[in-house]
Symmetry: C2
Subunit: 243 residues, 2 copies
DNA sequence: AGTAATTTGTGCGTATGTATG
DNA sequence: CCATACATACGCACAAATTAC
């Protein structure tokens, strides 16, 4: 019957903003009922009655939760439990990068540091978990990179797929989503420093070196290959800082 | 002044929800005027006039941005540029952990994986950047841990300070905030599996081993010390999964 | 196919609480 | 203590999107 809480709390207590109270109630409702992503939530009017708040307050609370991807709102359909992606991290970091960036790019440099550290540490672990299918997929992706680079075209999506594929065998959702998130931040913030076509050929070669190191099962070589993969981007950042 | 955009866009185009449009405008306004955290934004009514939207739409947009810490609202005072912290990441991950957790705790395990990988990779780099003051601070924090552990008390805050101190010399804000964020997620989600007093003594010893490895300037030893530091938590998670 | 019902989106007015001076 | 400016909350009416009949 979509009962959220029997407590009236109307006029007596004032712990904080109304919307925060409502947002907390909605989160508790999801936890208490063990709802999973995609499950429907009560309608806005039902939520109003349940928590004893106006529709404006409920809507603001829902918008906060939707920004965190805790709930997902579909116009004319209803409100549902969200998938709790890291879109909020991407939004926040991207904006920080754009604001602090333009000439500076120190935020971008920090993102590169984190990406490199995660890949160096985790890909080394992933080596032992890779099977032939994974290695073939990685190699095919680099083939595609080289093909596109030879045509002078960029290969953003292939690059994204490669780095996700590298982390896939770990079976860790959080790592995959962090990889995706940091990749997106870099893809959005970095275009300000343009990549030259010859850089792309080099980048494709660096990915090939990573695949080779993986195939050889050599962790140390893999670490240096990953470090060299990020070298061009670091150089671009340094160049931008100098100017 | 406070002119955000002259475009009316009223009635003709409908790309998406109104609040999304308004949120984008506000972000563009911050970027265009190169505002820094703490700087004031136009009042709600001024924003309404500037973008040609109602109070409701503006308020919902502001609430979304405040959830991402892109803006900060102070009741009765005004709206200001936020500090773009990673609170949104903490909120989202914490809720995911609480929802998926209780018995499972696989999200918590993923967080531990990421923390360990980052610390192993970055602390090894930080070794060369540490000065005597840092080493003394780290040692003093472990002293405090041992003191509290001997009294049977917990030392959450000291632990937090320790892991931040370890990353401090890198001079990378993002890494510090990620460290803080993941620590908070673990601190909020983990209490469901209770820590025994004897575990705390062991944990204090593991931190001592980390400091010793840092003092010795031995990266390999540091990696194993960090791995052993997380061993008790992993054991607790495994114990919870078994039951 | 189309109409009605349901649900979220938007706009507006007003009253209240809160911080600043 | 008062006055001003601002955010907060509430309620209603209507628009737009989706679903179901």
């Amino acid at each position: 019957m979509t009962t959220i809480d029997a407590t009236p709390l109307r006029g007596t207590e004032r712990p904080g903003p109304r919307r925060q109270e409502v947002a907390t109630r909605i989160k508790e409702y999801i936890l208490r009922n063990r709802l999973k992503p995609g499950n429907p939530l009560p309608t806005e009017v039902e939520l109003c009655e349940a928590v004893g708040a106006s529709r404006s307050s409920v809507r603001e609370a829902v918008k906060i939760l939707s920004a965190l991807d805790i709930v997902e709102v579909r116009h004319g359909h209803g409100t549902f439990v969200g998938r709790m992606s890291l879109n909020a991290l991407v939004e926040s970091l991207t904006f920080r990068g754009l604001l602090s960036g333009e000439e500076d790019h120190h935020v971008l440099g920090q993102v590169v540091d984190v990406r490199q550290t995660l890949e160096q540490g985790l890909a080394a672990e992933a080596i032992g978990l890779l099977d032939d299918a994974h290695r073939a997929d990685l190699s095919a992706l680099v083939d595609e990179m080289e093909r596109l680079a030879a045509q002078g075209r960029d290969f953003l999506e292939v690059d994204r797929a490669f780095h996700l594929k590298l982390m896939e065998p770990l079976g860790n959702d959080l790592i995959l989503q962090l990889t995706e998130a940091f990749w997106q931040v870099q893809a959005i913030v970095a275009p300000t420093l343009r990549t030259e076509p010859e850089d792309r050929v080099i980048t494709a070669q660096r990915h090939r070196a990573i695949v080779d190191a993986v195939a050889a099962g050599d962790p140390a070589r893999l670490r240096t290959a990953i470090a060299e993969h990020y070298a061009p981007i670091r150089a671009s950042i340094a160049r931008a800082v100098r100017s």
